[in-house]
Symmetry: C2
């Protein structure tokens, strides 16, 4: 069966898009069939993996039920990695969806057919930095949530809120089986005590939910998107690519253990 993983954290700039792209690419590299959904109106993931200008009438029309999601899925230059790209109208989707009757399950219902087809091993959703309607839709459609945490103070502060929202979706029955894939420490800077202090804090609170793999801060990671490449393409032997390949291996191990 296909599993849907939302990559989410309402704090901005913590590595959601970078993690979604590079983890999806590392899993596709191993032959797994992966779909990446860019639910962020900024369309950062679409710009790195997309074939051209984000297509007219992409995800927005799929979300509103005007076009079946399966017709919006494009292949990318990477084998086994498909993309459902964001489009310009997505920014307006928050208000349009908020006004629907069952606004929380909109994405879940529109994705049901693709999920049940079993075409993909995993579907990853890159979420926008907010606790709004698009993010709640991602958390409602998801089986699990992967939470990137930048090793800095503000990133830690907001974690409680996100965990609270997840609890609410579980208890109200909107997504009763929502699980946590794990917490991923990102942009770990070996030069500062702050990174180790934050990482230690997170491990104390969340224990084995925290991935062993830590993503180091690396300049080549921030350069890769400007060349329209994943880190696996841009710097295949560097610390960033090694870390995301290690994450893919750890992710699969955790999936097997259940």
């Amino acid at each position: 069966p296909t599993k849907i993983i939302a990559v989410a954290n309402q704090k901005g700039g913590v590595g959601k898009t970078t993690t979604t792209i590079n983890l999806a690419a590392a899993l596709a590299e191993q032959g797994l069939s992966i779909l990446l959904i860019d639910l962020d109106p900024q369309a950062n993931a679409s710009s790195v993996l997309g074939n051209k200008e984000t297509q007219e009438g992409g995800l927005y029309r799929g979300l509103m039920g005007e076009v079946p999601m399966r017709d919006l899925i494009e292949s990318t230059r990477l084998p086994h990695l498909a993309l459902l790209s964001a489009d310009l109208e997505l920014a307006g989707a928050e208000i349009d969806i908020a006004r629907l009757e069952q606004h929380l399950i909109q994405l879940k219902s529109m994705l049901a057919e693709v999920k049940e087809s079993g075409r993909f091993s995993y579907i990853f959703i890159d979420s926008p930095p907010s606790l709004g309607v698009l993010m709640s839709n991602a958390l409602t459609a998801a089986d699990e949530v992967l939470i990137p945490i930048q090793c800095e103070y503000y990133a830690l502060e907001g974690l409680g809120k996100l965990v609270g929202v997840m609890d609410q979706l579980r208890h109200t029955g909107i997504n009763p089986t929502l699980a946590m894939t794990g917490l991923l420490m990102t942009m770990f800077d070996v030069r500062t005590n702050l990174s180790s202090a934050v990482a230690k804090d997170v491990r104390t609170h969340f224990q084995e939910v925290v991935f062993e793999t830590v993503i180091p801060r690396s300049i080549r990671m921030s350069e890769a998107p400007s060349f329209g490449q994943t880190i696996l393409e841009y710097d295949p032997k560097g610390p960033g690519a090694l870390a995301y390949r290690a994450l893919a291996a750890e992710f699969l191990k955790r999936q097997e253990q259940g």
Copy 2:
């Protein structure tokens, strides 16, 4: 007369909160009377400047018109710097405001009395990372917008959208006189070509709208919030404090020139 400045960029983690806090603090240090409004449900600015747990019924009740904004303004430990802090209910405000008749001018109308009182030289609004209702409210209430830009690729991509939204608010008459305070390059990393390439790109496109002052990436900048301090308090002689004081001086010079 009081001027309202929105610090905005829908891209996450580009230094909106850091810039709002430290520019406001550097101006207050010079004796100017400053109000900082934390319009981000993450409440990061409130956690550094706030007096205690973000108060019950803060900005949300002011936004919805249940309590006059003037009654929600608190003083902070810094002379001449007052705070209107975010509260937990703010996350739900997007949907509540979206359903109001005139949802774009809600913040503007609720702030009118404080603005007209002339009590403050400047009011700074820290915005959330989104193009949603709270951000549009900040852009509608503002006289000017200050846009922090992280010297990285994704930050550049989204700039066109924000400028487009500002144009729309001007042309539709919702905020016809909305001006640009300037674009501020943040987290400039001298070790990478990317920073200089992005900065050069931005200056070519936007020319004199870009502040001369550039904020360097500095570890102590990311450490300061974990001690609940501004950079002026945490590392007063370091590169971050110097840069924000230089920014305050350049900001005032630009205001005088009009």
